[in-house]
Amino acid sequence: MKKKCIIIPAYNESKNILNVIENIKKVTDADIIVIDDGSKDQTQRQALKAGVFVISHPFNMGYGVALQTGYKFAIRHHYDILLQIDGDGQHTPDSIPLFFEKVEAGDCDVLIGSRFLGSNSYKPSLPKRIGILLFKIIIRMINRTEITDPTSGYQCMTKEVFDVFTDDDFPCDYPDTNIIIRLHRMGFIVKELPVQMKENPEGKSMHHGTFTVMYYFFKMFLSIFISLISKKNYLKKEAIDA
């Protein structure tokens, strides 16, 4: 039996975090670790009340850093499989057992939850759909594989993968399409699983405002370009296998 954990990055999610944890507990007994990214509200207190392990950043460092804290902690405590799920309640936890089952069976190294393969999932806004389509095309061109939801943060992965993410070259700002391309080039198998996703209860999004969206696209293209020219990415998987 492999050691599993669920990491929940959360920033100012005191209204949702308790519900998210309760719903996860109904479907799995894996260890739950909440990474409170310097929240100004009662997120930490609420998560502790729910009886899960809470890691609190001393200040806000962003979604990607919170995820990386989870990866580092999972390595530190010798977990074999890690699942990441958002703390805002967008991801429905019903699919968690299936995520674990497929990754544990060795079907793939990373399993991404796709809102576009599942039925009755909410449809993102038009600009977001256009962005997702663009990154989908880029992945198809570079990786020659079909990923329908490259921006999904609902993912499950093996130790070999999250070990790679503990490096300083992990793109902490926006770990999305660039990560999928990098993993593919390193020889990891990336697959998708149909999942249900709900709209953010408060309508919040990581990418709001024209400047943020433009910055996101700039960073993503730069990160993809670096992934393509970096030889380091090829070497890592070989090193892990050795």
């Binding site: 670790i33 392990f53 001393p58």
Partner: protein
Amino acid sequence: MTLYQKLFAVFTVLSIFWLIVQLVKKGKLREEYSWLWILTGIVLIIIVLWYDLLLFITKLTGAVLPTTTLFVFGIIFLLMLSLHFAIKISLLTYEVKNLAQKISFLEAEADQGKPGMNSDAQTISTD
């Protein structure tokens, strides 16, 4: 270049040198940040005392006036300095992030033990 201009330039550069050395001596400026300033000061001294070199560089770069050459090299120096600081800030950002992550682990482990332990034993910290 007149003698007064030369004297003023040399005096300015020597003052900057003295300031940098004092800052390093008092520990307000690290040696690793002072080298670029000192290097620029040395280049300025050489150019001031060896005016023909400035004329030669001006001719080499295709500039019309020696002052243009000085301005161009001044801008290059400022760009180099900005890049130097950008590299340092990037490095510091990584270090601060890694340090904050480590502190978070240690604090969480000290308060709560290991993940999956009896949840009743977990304490609520309001820090």
